[in-house]
Amino acid sequence: MAETKRKRRETEANNISDYAIYLENVCKTFSDGVPALSDINLKVKHGEFVFIVGVSGAGKSTLIKLLLRELKADSGTIYVNGFNLMNIKHGRIPKFRRTLGVVFQDFRLLKDRNVYENVAFAQRVAQKSEREIRRNVPGILSLVGLAGKYKAKPKQLAGGEQQRVALARALVNQPKLLLADEPTGNLDLFNTAEIMRLLETVNENGTTVVVVTHNDKLVNDMKKRVVTIKQGMIVSDDENGGYFDED
């Protein structure tokens, strides 16, 4: 009996390690009693590119917050990059987050620091030496096409450029998983295409990419896996799926 249990746990552990994201029967209700997510089951394997789509208020951002462990689910199982987010201690959360890259719609750059410092900050947090920082930051800024603007402050950059800085910051620690919450929400068509091209390149290099969006054109052009959330529940999960924005 004990042997069977142990084997089941080992199998489960092996299964979980196959996934960048492993959610099983996850529920989250806000403090005012409004259900945000109900019985969410989602498994994203390492190296996948997934869109999570849905109208405003569907629960996409709550899902991202659960994956970042900004919020804790009420019930269910959540593993991200092998970390059990239902049991993780507060002191271990920073270590977990260093395995992720995060990009937001509003860029969230440190306004009083220049491009170089914004990207270097993620490396400093990860306790990288100055030598490593001096080597890695210019490289990642070249990748996003901002090597020439490393001294500029965020407010001196256009929206697309700011998002590329945010992307460079998210990628500089070579995360296993990149979470992008409406990364093109504030961008024009040209910059949207540019950011998506970069995300695709990142994915081709082995990083799992999860993009939350309600931009149907973007989703339909990319022909990737699409997970649709409606009223806090996953209503469809299609490889090479499509999406029609109901907003």
């Binding site: 900004e70 002191g91 920073p94 440190l110 993620a122 400093r124 947090v125 306790q127 620690n173």
Partner: protein, 296 residues
């Protein structure tokens, strides 16, 4: 903590002071203003206490002896007086010394006396440590053999005791209120200054910064600001104290009975105390304010 993180904290703390100029100026101004008022009041309080203490030490009790008392007994009485804890110092004025002093007052009229008219006026002048204990000493001396008469000033002693008590309560009350108001104002300024940087803290947490890594530069920054905010009023007060005491001594001769404490005697305590308050409030205020925003 790694050395790299230590230097990062120092560097970011200093940069933070320079980068967030308005926060720095506002907080330094608040701390300086509070500690300046606190410092002025403390300086006045310490000086008033010093002046009262000086006045107390000039209040003496005079003890006269029985006629024909022996020199040995006078010496014994002196020893008894010297053993009392309430006695600061005492001195024997012999009949000859008493007449010598008095004849200086009389001038040429003193020559008409062939004998010492103050023959029985040898006495002990006793100066107290604490004027409130005058009655305690007097009741003891009443029971000592060989003492004929005790001169004392109940009015002076009672007045000084009363002033002392009132001053103690008033000064403690005002200083406590000033101190509490200072801490409240300073803490509010630090809290507001850090709260507007909530987004910065959130971003740091998203990229995987530990609580310590986020908090340490903020705390160090607030401690630097606290130190500057405390140093400015102390420097200013030290400078002004010298000018003020000189001015009073030189320009207001009628106040010459006021003896002020030397600046260093006050500021040797006030400066480290104020600097500790400045740094301490910076530390505590920023520590708890940042803590509120760390649950991301």
């Amino acid at each position: 903590m790694k050395i790299r993180t230590f230097f990062y904290t120092i560097e970011q703390g200093v940069i933070g002071v320079l980068r967030n100029k308005w926060f720095t100026v506002a907080t330094v101004a608040t701390i300086s203003a509070c500690l300046f008022v606190f410092g002025i009041f403390s300086t006045i309080a310490v000086n008033v206490a010093y002046i009262v203490k000086n006045a107390e030490q000039n209040v003496s009790v005079t003890v006269f002896f029985d006629e024909g008392i022996s020199d040995e007994r006078i010496e014994e009485i002196g020893e008894l007086i010297g053993r009392r804890s309430e006695v600061g110092r005492y001195e024997l004025i012999t009949a000859e010394e008493a007449w010598e002093d008095f004849s200086e007052v009389l001038g040429e009229y003193a020559d008409s006396f062939t004998e010492n008219p103050l023959e029985n006026c040898a006495n002990y002048q006793i100066y107290l440590n604490d004027v409130t204990k005058q009655s305690q000493l007097v009741s003891y001396l009443d029971g000592v053999e060989g003492i004929r008469k005790i001169n004392k000033s109940d009015f002076t002693a009672d007045t000084l005791t009363g002033i002392n008590m009132v001053l103690v309560y008033v000064f403690i009350g005002i200083i406590l209120i000033l101190f509490a108001v200072s801490i409240f104002l300073i803490n509010n300024t630090v809290t507001m200054g850090i709260s507007v940087r909530k987004e910065e803290i959130t971003i740091m947490k998203y990229v995987g910064a530990t609580d310590f890594f986020v908090r340490a530069p903020f705390v160090f920054e607030a401690m630097i600001i606290g130190l500057i905010g405390a140093a400015i009023p102390m420097w200013l007060l030290y400078y002004l104290y010298g000018i003020a005491t000189n001015l009073i001594n030189e320009k207001f001769a009628f106040l010459s009975f006021l003896t002020f404490l030397p600046a260093w005697d006050i500021f040797v305590y006030l400066i480290p105390f104020s600097l500790c308050i400045g740094v301490g409030i910076g530390f505590v205020g920023s520590f708890f304010t940042v803590h509120k925003h760390l649950r991301v």
